[in-house]
Amino acid sequence: MSVLSRASRRHWRASVLLAALTLGLWVLLVLVLPFAAAALDRAAFAGLPLGRWMLAQGALAGLLLLVAAHNRRQDRLDDRVGLDDE
């Protein structure tokens, strides 16, 4: 097996792991949050019950952080294979 193809396999495995982690957090923010909102409502944030604030604004801010983190790590993975496509 050539060096390139071993590096590319490593790149792909790391990318799959990263995507799986990102998707896991995505599921928490988008699909689990609605069910957890009632429990979160016992706390308060920004003058609102926490669960309702999370649904209206917090989850979106979380998605933004999530995507920023994914982009940073994926860029680093891509740079490591030395095949950055820009």
Partner: protein, 558 residues
Amino acid sequence: MTALDSLPARRRFPARPRRLFGTIAVGLVALAALAVALERLGVGAQTITLLLTVYLLAAVATVALAARSMTPGGVLLADRRVPAFWNGLALAGGALGGATLVALAGGPAGEPALAAGLALGLPAGLVLAGVLLAPQLRRAGAVSVPDFLAMRYGAALRPAGLAVLLVACFVLLTVQIDLLGRLAAVVFGLSPSAARWAGLVAVLVCVVPGGMRSVTWTQAALSLVLIIALLAVAAWLTEAAGLGFVPHLTLGEAAARAAATPAGPGAALPGAADAFALAATALCAACGIAAMPHVLLRFLAAASGRTARRTASHALVWGVVLFTVLPVLALLAQRAALDFAAVGTPDAAALSGMALQADTAFIALPALAGLPAAAGALALVAAAGAALAVAAGLLMAMAGALSHDLHHRMLDPRADAAVRLLLVRLFAATLGALAVPAAGLAIAGTLPLAVWALSLAASGLFVPLVLGVWWRRANGPGALAGLVAGTVAAGGYLYHLAIGGAPWFGIDAMRVGLVGLAASLLATIGVSLLTPPPGPARQAFVRRIRLPARGRDVPPLD
């Protein structure tokens, strides 16, 4: 066509994007300030609305004409050279704008869980698209969504993918044309039907001069206008209500005021009572937007795989800025609706008509709050920009796919480039002309129609696309089975409910995407495993699109 041909087309447009879009932004703000002054001098609200609308249309027409193109690469994919920032700005309006955004800003339109699910699911879908599809689809060098499916799975997926693309995009297009028509009726005083045709003309101005090239840059301009106008209106409203001028930070206070009952500040916001409905809507909307062809087309036009991924995150930044202010606007609308019921109509008759329609209440909010006419005009311009951006993207996705997939790949591979370029424009005009009467039918409200379009894309396209990248074992028969099973299951279940069938597991007509997604996933995996794995060429294709690739360019665009 010859008239356009004789004009020298600039190779790189815009040469200085920052200056062009800066001018458009400053012009909009200056014009709004001028409008406030003009109103003090006695100029009427109708004139001020007309002034700002004409500014929007003039800016769009200027950008579209300057971005004209006469090459297949430019018309189909904006030469695949769009930088991440501008592509992301274009995607923000093109994916998240539209009649949906206007309806969400207008307060309690229909079921709360549906609005809340869309407000969460649409931005979340951009994350899915960026992580799961954008760089790989770009690296494949596909021209359209059916083109990618055919590259990955074989020729049978081309017509099937095209059919789903056409139906999903067309349904969503009618929603935008309907809104554009209602706006044009208010601004120009046209009859509903004539106003829809006027709306279509505005959309065609974005599409016809340069195909994807002009759609790209007009979408960027429209997104910019949408963001500035919507935020200005929101800040104006919250400031006038004594809540402060950063609208995003006023949610708690706005919720406290909108609660009609003394049930506490959260009562006016959607909560946990309908958790399943909310999560299910969010999932359908997210998978739908991630598979909608007009969204994926933005990634195909990006300068590289990495640029495509960054396009999604740039769009999400704008999306979050817009979508975190929507609940504030919705609460102000709720409050205004209470006052409206108590006090009665404001003077502007047309705007009060807007206020009475739940999905355009946002446009009437400034008038109901007693703000200057410029604020109302900005709200209308924001709505028009949102609808135009989405409509232009949808029309381009359909016309481009018909020209490339149906005509060029299936019917006449040796057709002249000039014929193909003419066809893109003819298809756009024809589909638009069909959408105008279809929009007049008003089968359902804005949000239900948008949800059905998204659900169809989720049911038919999402699973074959995602597994095409992430599961090498997925093969042609599996993908075709998944596409067909997803659409048939979603459509069949909708029919089952329509004829009065009992819902399964509490899944109602707004969540048919769940049924489609499940059927599509099962069929793709099941049939793939029962049939032989994809051949070595397709396996190599998958390996190629998974890897960032400097120096190995994608297939040329003729």
